[in-house]
């Protein structure tokens, strides 16, 4: 939402004290919530962008998104898990069941899934979801 001037002050006054050199990625000025509107995360009553997060792949396709109201912050570990899962899928076409973490069991590519219907329980157990 904020201007480049506000981003600069926030970097200098606060963020650079949390992360050496400040945060390394571009901070976009979404004045008037134009980009937020484009992505469906602009609250026109409060005049702010809510906490939206979009994971976009190298072809420009939105693979995942998460939108929260302002009081609760996001979980960085979950974004990284999703990124690793999509990268693994794009490389192998394997499917990542609930709670998948790198190194944990995957399911075979979609084309083989039908022949395995009824056998997922042999690979995946509910405790792997957590």
């Amino acid at each position: 939402m904020d201007s480049n001037f506000s981003h600069k002050v926030w970097q200098e006054v606060e963020l650079s004290k949390m992360v050496k050199g400040g945060i390394p990625y571009p901070m976009v000025a979404d004045l008037g919530g134009k980009i937020g509107t484009l992505y469906g995360v602009y609250d026109d009553v409060k005049g702010v962008d809510v906490r939206g997060r979009f994971l976009i792949d190298p072809d420009g396709i939105v693979q995942a998104m998460e939108v929260l109201t302002p009081p609760v912050g996001r979980n960085v570990a979950e974004v990284l898990r999703q990124l690793q899962a999509y990268q693994h899928h794009q490389k192998t076409l394997e499917l990542m069941p609930s709670g998948w973490q790198p190194g944990k069991p995957t399911l075979p590519p979609e084309t083989e899934t039908l022949t395995r219907a009824g056998h997922v329980w042999e690979i995946w157990k509910p405790d792997l979801a957590f």
Binding site: K8, V28, Y39, G40, R51, F54, I56, G60, V62, G73
Partner: protein, 47 residues
């Protein structure tokens, strides 16, 4: 228009603050890389 998973992300051009300088950013410049686009209500709030 709203965003849907599995569909192309809407592109935009905007001013950004990066490495101490103002610059123009176009979402399409990030083709070929994974990209995370994050919105938050305001500077000086938790993210």
């Amino acid at each position: 228009m709203s965003v849907q998973v599995g569909r192309e992300a809407p592109t935009f051009t905007a001013q950004a603050f990066h490495q101490g300088k103002a610059k123009d950013i176009n979402l399409a410049d990030y083709r070929g890389k994974w990209l995370m686009l994050c919105f938050y209500p305001a500077d000086f709030t938790c993210v």
